[in-house]
Structure formats: structure tokens, C-alpha cells
Amino acid sequence: MFTILGISSQALFGQLLIGLINGAFYAMLSLGLALIFGLLNIINFTHGAQYMMGAFAAWLMLSYAGVGYWWALLLAPIVVGITGIVIERLFLRQLYKLDHLYGLLLTFGMALMLEGVFRQLYGVSGLPYQIPQELTGAYNLWFMFLPKYRAWVVAISLLVCIAVWLLIEKTKLGSYLRAATENPSLARAFGINVPLMITLTYGFGVALAAFAGVLAAPIYQVSPIMGSNLIIIVFAVVVIGGMGSILGSIITGFALGLVEGLTKVFYPEASSTVIFIIMAIVLLIKPAGLFGRRA
């Protein structure tokens, strides 16, 4: 046992672990955003709403169809991903040749509408979603009491993040994707179906958000405003990591979770601001973000 600035090592480790858990959500959400921005050049402001829809999909499946957590973890991202594909086909497709701003406005507007609809239907207090039976209880680590569910969240999100990164960097499909990002017309000349890749990428990015939503459902209330609470921070994470950088968004997500966790110990009042302070500093020193390729 030792102490740092009056905080015992025990408390500090606990806080770092909590930071990592929140970081897991940041990482998964910013990963989806980075994927979408990389290929579609769309700043997907609907991401928070899609995360919320994932949580609601899990709740609706449980309440009306008796579908439990594990199936929801698989099905909710598929269902929400399909709604994403519909959105891409109907709306986003029209905007690729226009300025970024149009995509931003469209997705922002859709986020507000989706949230409005859920708010109208379910109110803002949120709906309870129980932790699955297998993951109730906790591990008694020497420095803290760690709920099994939180441990699961960190483990599965790390796994998903690494899997996505490997998929993009190490597989043939990933190389197509990178080629389509780098030079769409050349990729098309080589016979790659770029429009299909774009549609599927958007669907996949949205599914990642929904997956995070299902993971979040037992921790927070399932509430229409759960996404808007998170989305601004996640955007800051993406900007700090470098727009469109996959690895950057994963590392930055976890790292900023840690930084935020530490702030909550030493100066809790600033914990909602610290990420934006870091963003401002990073933008001043490295305008392309920590892992961004282009200046």
C-alpha cells in the first residue's frame, strides 16, 4: 500500500479500472465513427442515437418477445445495422458528392428525430434492464470490488476492437476497404464493388454502436437521452485520435477513459471538461490528431 497525493493505491487502481470500463464504450463508439468517416466521408452524428437504439432494441426484445441478453447482443446490432443500411441507401447516398456539412446536418437532424420519437414513446427516466444471470455478482479483487458485468464489458469490447482492427489491417476484405478509402475510382477499376462496400461499412459501423448500446443497457437506464450524453465526448475522442484512424480511435478511447477516471479522483468538477481541454491542446499541436495521417 502506498499513497499518491492523499489517495491510496487501492482507491487509485479501482478508479483506473473504472476509467478503462468507460474507455471501452468510447473506444467502440469512436471505432464505428472512424470507420464510417474513413470510407463515407460522413460525420455520423446519428451514432449516439443508434447506440441508444441498440439498448432499446435489447429492451424491446426482452419485454415483448422474451429474447434474453445473449441473443440481444447478437440480434440488436443486426436489426439496428439494417436500419443503418436503409438510411445509407435512401439518404446518405445522395450526399457523397456534397460538402461534409450536408452529411453532418442530415445525420444530426436524424439523431434529434430518433431521440424525439423514443422520448415521446418512453419518457426520459429510462427503463430498467437487468444484468444477465450469468454475470451478476462480483470479483473481490484486493483493491476493489469489481462487478462481473463490468469485467465482461472491458473484455468483450477489447476483443471486438482488436478483431475489427485485424479485419481491416490483415484480411483481403480489409485491404479492399482500405483501397476503396484511399482511391475509390481506382478500386472500382480493379473490379471492387465500392458502393456495396460503402453500404456494408455504414451498416457495420452502426451495428458496432448498437452493440455498445446493448452492453450499456444493464449499466445505465435504457433511456432516449443516453446517446446524446455520450456522443459529444466520443466525437472529441475521434478528433483527438485523428479522423478516420482506426487504431487511433481505439487507443484514444481507452486512454481518455483513463484520464477521465483520474480526473474524477483528483478534481471531479472538471471530469466532464477534461477531454475537451485535451482536444484543444491536441488540435493546437497536431491538427490532424494523434494518429491522423494527413495534415
Partner: protein, 405 residues
Amino acid sequence: MRFMLKLLAGVAATAFAAATPVSAQQMSDGVVKIGVLNDQSGLYADLAGPGSVWAARKAVADFNPKFKVEVVAADHQNKPDVGASIARQWFDVDKVDMIVDLPTSSVALAVNQIGKEKNKVVMVSTGATADLTGKACTPNTVHWTYDTWALANGTGKAIVQTGGKNWFFITADYAFGHALERDTEAVVNANGGKVLGKVRTPFPGTTDFSSFLLQAQASKAQIIGLANAGGDTINSIKQAAEFGIVKGGQNLAGLLVFLTDIHALGLQTAQGLIMTEAWYWDTTDSTRAFAKEFAAAHKGNHPTMGQAGVYSAVTHYLRAVDALKSDADGAKVVAKMKELPSDDKLFGKGQVRADGRHIHPMYLFEVKKPSESKGPWDYYKVRATIPANEAFRPLKDGDCPLVKN
């Protein structure tokens, strides 16, 4: 969207006008205009929000005034600057005579000053800070339903007296949280308890309280006082269960808990929680009838004390305006409200004190076990009734300038 909602709410609300304008010429611009200003879409929307607008309209309809009354509504988004600019617009341009509800103490304090400046009436129902009848009191403001002192006095005293001596506070970092923490700390100290630590959480925007709960756990305090409200309280209680705080022997004290919070948590998680409230729907035949009608208009949701307080406050305001036959001078209307005893079907008999505090009994409730509840919204049982003369801060202790004179 929020702006749109605000517009829509305002437009929809202006559609309401009641009764025949017999003595309309005595009212400023021919109509008594009541503005319901609260959170219509954020974390306090369920405990006040559109339900408060409904309650205000219901009060007008039940009062059946001989003059013309109009109810308008807007969303202050829990931001003092937004609330203040709506209040100014309402008073200056839209000729609103009285603003009611005002959850979020920082907004309530801002509008409190504007009401005085413009000589209008401000009636706070869901806003909590006891400063409204303390150092910030004005001749234009009435504080209706509850305040931080009353909450602290009810819950804090009951817990310290039954052995919960050591406290740790998780406090929402704005005017309300600070006032609630301050008032509860005073009660804890006065009853021989001790505060071991506190942590201030950013408002709004904090959803993960686990870090703060761990700090509370590390403090080894017996009682973790939640000086927050609405969605913040819900998340704190839920996550405390997740981290085994209560199983570990520490207890939570929800210092401001609304019926809708309990509904959102479910009895399984919320059972046994002790809290102080001014009003509960399942008390008398007329409160039950009110709740039934309210529920029919709100997808089965039952009214909170804040929404009932809006009904009660609007009723008393109309009575004062009716007695004066004028709504023009805000301070005069408030003086009339202080002179007349209050009486309505939800809060019963009460009185508005010189400092603007409306006094009535408060209740210490305990949340039922799932097995004790007979159905949806049957959540509370009464542990104690705190009589009106003990429920609120004594007049002399408030430092209200109106009282010294």
C-alpha cells in the same frame, strides 16, 4: 429540436383560454397569462415537464375563473441563461403575468431575480434551493412544494436518529446540489452525526457514478447521501446496487426522490429507500381522482409532488388574483397570497409565510417491497408525518431581508 419543441409547446399552449371575460378590463391586457417554465425534454422532464403543464391547465379549469386565463409553456433545458431569456421574453413581450414550476435551482434563482425586476409573480414548485426564501427571497416569489431544508430535515434527521451517523455526499455540482448538501450537513451535525467526505459531480452530463460511488465506499461512511435528482439519482442507486455498496453494509439516502424515479428503478432495486416528499397520489379520495385523470392523459404515469404542487400553486394564485380583481402588480398579488390561507383538493389547508415559503405538512415515506405493492404506482408507505410548523426552516433562520424589516 428542443427549440422546435419549445415553439410547438408554446403554440399548443396558447390555444387554451378559459371562461367568460367578465371583468377582463381590470386584468393587464385583458388576460391572466400563466407560463409553465421547466425541463420539457431532459433528465427532469418526467418529474415536471409536460405533466406540470397539464396540472396548470387542470387547476385553471377546476377554478373556473370569471376572467380570461391563458397557460403557455416552454423548455428551459436546465440552463439558467436559456431560462432567463425565456422569462424576459415572456414578461416583456408576451405579457406573461406569472411563471410557475421552475425545476433546476440555478434556473429558478435566475428567474426569481427577473420576476422581482419586472414586478411579476414567480411560483416555484419543482425548484429546490431553500435560498429562494432565504437570502435570495423577493416580494414577488412564492416557494410552494418543498425545499432543500425541508428535505434535509425530514430524511437527514430520521436517518441520523436511527443510527446513521457518518455521511458521505455525492452532490450534483450546481446551486441545487450545493444547497441540499449544505442543509443536510447542518442537520447531520446538529443531530450528532459527522460528514466524512463529499464529491461534486458535473451537471448535467454525468451518467457513470461508479467512480464517485467507489470514493464513497472507500470513505467507510455508513450513509451515502445523494444530493442529486431525477436521472442522476436513478443512475446512482442502480450503480450502487451493481457495486455491492448496500450489500457491503453502507446505506443510500436519496435526499430528493420523485415517484417517477422509483417507477424507473423498479421496486426490486428501490425497496426500503427512505425519502421525504410533500405529496403522494394515494392519500385521499381527491388525490386519487386527480391521479387517475392525470394518468389517463400521460400513458398511465402518475403525478409527482412537483406536478401536484403546480396545480396547488396555480389555484392559490388565481384565488389571489380573483380577490384583488387585478393581476397587474406582482408584489401586490403575492402579498394577497400571503394574506389568504391556501386550500385546495391536493395539498389541503396551508399558508404562505412572509418570506414566501408555503407551509404544509411533509411526509417521510418508505418504498414498499415488491410483495407489499398492490400494483403499478403503488410504491410508498408513510413512515412519519412532519407537521407544517416543523417541516420548514423557521422564519427567523432564513436571513430573508423581507422578514427583518
